[in-house]
């Protein structure tokens, strides 16, 4: 890793107008969360006896997990396959994954009826349940992500934990912990990196198996025995686009290094995986003969066509063009299309394609559900912003006039200024 690409805390003020907007987006969601815990799910959501899962499962959990796939895909590329050119993007991807997975149990606490019993799967094992497998993998992987992230914290604070006020009694203990972690983790990190990749493959595919328990309810356009494989491949395909998406957005508001050459290289893998995914999707339609549902002019057929055309064909064609792959804007647009495609796919499998017998009302998210989902998303972006400000996650941009690296490497306490 060259000196130019070294990650460091960013010497930028935290409370910018954009960050204040994020905080403003969190407030209404918080109010609805309180309402949910006082009045029950029925007080806030549009869930019904025939629509037991809404956007809190489909977006906050199922889509969130897919969009956090950048963590394991970049880890595999940089650390397992040894492509060191991608080292710089592993840290932001790891941070996104860590935040994404941290918010899965938070979203679940809001969604499940007996939130105080959320720990039950850890003792009441039910090995036939796909949900149990997914839950176990997510719990373990979240902890793996924390371990993978620990060296970044240690790098920054091992010589100076300075907690304010009464918390300062912990300074010595925490500093010791970080020093030990810094010394030992390096040698055993390969165990966790490999575990992270394997666990991700397990639960990303497991999420696809979830709806296989409802063969008579999930529309035939999506119900296929290869749904787990499709979920896994699409998660791998959306990993790098998420890295591109974040990097482009982050560099628009933060003084960080322009990574377009690295992102261009990354997009070649995405081109490959979105291609494999497209072939599997089309092949599945042909093998099962479900192409005949494509033009039934229902909400389902329309949604499926949008998913395929916007999320698979269009980005595949775009990324096939070298000019698009080399341009920052082209990369960003292609990444957005793939992300939108995966979001729509998860929504389709969990909501649009789910048709319950005897349903008298359809499901449409309530204002409260939308507000909470918006708040959780804003909270993730807010925490991302906080952590990249104070921790060495992103490589700061080197000013063209100066040669001193110290200018952009903040010293403790600088970031608040």
């Amino acid at each position: 890793m060259s000196e130019r690409h070294r990650a460091a805390p960013l010497a930028v003020p935290l409370w910018t107008p954009g960050v204040l907007v994020l905080v403003a987006l969190m407030i209404p969601g918080f109010v609805f969360v309180v309402a949910r815990f006082v009045g029950g799910l029925g007080a806030v959501t549009n869930l019904s006896q025939t629509s037991p899962w809404g956007i809190w499962v489909a977006i906050d959990v199922a889509t969130g997990v897919a969009l956090a796939a950048g963590g394991f895909t970049t880890a595999a590329l940089a650390h397992v396959f040894g492509r060191q050119a991608y080292e710089t993007i592993t840290r932001p991807a790891l941070l996104t994954a860590m935040l994404g997975y941290t918010f899965v149990p938070i979203a679940l606490m809001i969604d499940i009826g007996r939130y105080w019993a959320i720990w039950h799967p850890i003792i009441y094992w039910q090995g036939n349940s796909v949900l149990f497998e997914v839950a176990m993998c997510v719990v373990i992987y979240t902890n793996v992500l924390y371990i993978e992230f620990l060296p970044i914290v240690a790098e920054r604070y091992k010589h100076g934990v300075r907690l304010p006020g009464p918390l300062s009694v912990l300074n010595g203990v925490l500093e010791k912990f970080l020093q030990v972690a810094d010394r030992t983790l390096d040698r055993v990190m390969w165990v966790f990196i490999l575990a992270g990749v394997v666990l991700s493959c397990m639960h990303q595919s497991g999420l696809g198996s979830l709806m296989l328990i409802a063969p008579t309810k999930l529309h035939a356009l999506w119900y296929t025995p290869i749904l787990p494989l499709l979920f896994l491949i699409s998660a791998v395909a959306v990993g790098f686009p998420m890295v591109i998406f974040e990097n482009v957005l982050a560099s628009a508001s933060l003084p960080i290094e322009d990574e377009t050459p690295v992102l261009s290289q990354l997009s070649r893998y995405t081109f490959l995986f979105i291609g494999i995914y497209g072939v599997l999707k089309i092949g599945d339609l042909l093998v099962r003969g479900t192409y005949r549902f494509l033009f039934e002019a229902s909400a389902q057929s329309f949604s499926f066509l949008v998913e395929i055309v916007v999320g698979v064909f269009l980005p595949f064609v775009l990324l096939g063009m070298p000019t698009v792959r080399r341009s920052r804007r082209g990369l960003f647009i292609s990444a957005c299309l793939i992300i939108a495609g995966v979001v729509l796919n998860r929504l389709n499998v969990f909501l649009v394609g789910y048709r319950s017998p005897y349903a008298v009302v359809g499901y449409w998210p309530s204002i409260g559900e939308l507000a909470v989902t918006t708040a959780l998303t804003a909270a993730i972006v807010f925490l991302y912003r906080v952590l990249v400000t104070y921790l060495p996650v992103l490589p700061p941009r080197i000013p063209s006039h100066g040669t001193s690296l110290g200018v952009t490497h903040s010293v403790p306490g600088r970031a608040e200024s």
Partner: protein, 308 residues
């Protein structure tokens, strides 16, 4: 079982259910009770008196309904079980008329079917739902976390949820009067009260034979189908009817158990953790290889004197 009865069974599609469905799927650890109880509902006998609804309400200590049980106006709309009522009776007019040219109603009792291989039990993340030896699909609220995956899984759309309870919402459905049938001689509330013997409680195998006998004895009265004999691999509640089931609000469902797809995939991948462990080993080998190569390259470049 004599030969003629057997032929009727075969004709009604029971034969496929008589073969234990799990045996065809090696590696799937499924335990279907050998000799469960069941209920046979004879729709040609039901007169729509709603006594079963009332008995269910009493036995399970459910709140009083908004419309009293003797008000027959409820039949004007189709109902489904709710968190406060585990069973409902609906009225259907299939177009059949009697000798005075009046439409003949058919009444259909709806409740949990207590599947032999229930999708809800397979789906439940904590095992709060279990299939008991006596045939009941039993719900244990002390384990439940309220994820509502059972509601996604149930092909009959039976589990109901208490959405307005903020602390201890429960999944609600027919219990098969689990406590009562666990006692010797115990009978579910609805079956015990039925004044026209439209509901017969007993061992499922006996009920299947009884249903086949009734169909065989009066072929003009019944259509040759025992609903629940093989639907989704068989259910503890069985129905015989004089009208086609699809005209009476019954769903046309596959005859293989619902959990087979997920369980064969899951158990195939996770048997002895062979797949995750293989992947771990493979990635580990790749990681080891790339790191050794990089070290060597570093070594060579240092030897040449142009190291970093």
């Amino acid at each position: 079982m004599n030969r003629r009865t057997f032929l009727t069974w075969a004709a009604t599609g029971v034969a496929s259910a008589a073969v234990a469905p799990s045996s065809a799927w090696p590696g799937v650890s499924r335990r279907v009770p050998d000799d469960p109880y069941g209920c046979l509902v004879d729709l040609t006998r039901c007169v729509g008196c709603r006594k079963c609804e009332q008995a269910c309400n009493t036995v399970n200590n459910l709140p009083a309904p908004s419309v009293p049980f003797d008000d027959m106006l409820v039949f004007d709309s189709q109902r489904r079980p709710t968190p406060q009522s585990f069973t409902v009776v609906n009225r259907y007019h299939t177009g059949k008329v009697d000798d005075r040219n009046r439409l003949v109603p058919t009444y259909v009792k709806v409740q949990c079917m207590h599947c032999q291989d229930p999708a809800c039990v397979s789906a439940c993340i904590v095992g709060a739902l279990t299939k008991r030896d006596n045939g009941a699909v039993h719900y244990d609220e002390s384990k439940c976390i309220g994820c509502r995956y059972c509601m996604i899984a149930c092909p009959f759309q039976i589990p109901q949820y208490e959405y307005n309870d903020p602390i201890t919402p429960r999944v609600r459905k027919c219990t098969f009067c689990f406590e009562r049938i666990s006692q010797p001689g115990g009978v579910p509330g609805c079956a015990a009260i039925c004044p026209v013997e439209a509901i017969t409680f007993g061992k499922r195998n006996v009920l299947l034979a009884l249903a086949a006998q009734r169909i065989e004895a009066e072929p003009a009265r019944y259509i040759p189908h025992i609903y629940g004999a093989s639907e989704v691999g068989g259910t503890s509640w069985l129905y015989i009817s004089g009208e086609p089931f699809e005209k009476l609000g019954f769903l046309t469902l596959p005859h293989r158990p619902i959990p087979q797809t997920t369980e064969s995939i899951q158990h195939g991948i996770f048997a002895y953790f062979w797949a995750p462990l293989t992947l771990y080993g493979l990635l580990g080998a790749i990681m080891y290889g790339t790191h050794r190569r990089q070290k060597q390259e570093q070594q060579t470049s240092e030897d040449k004197g142009d190291g970093p």
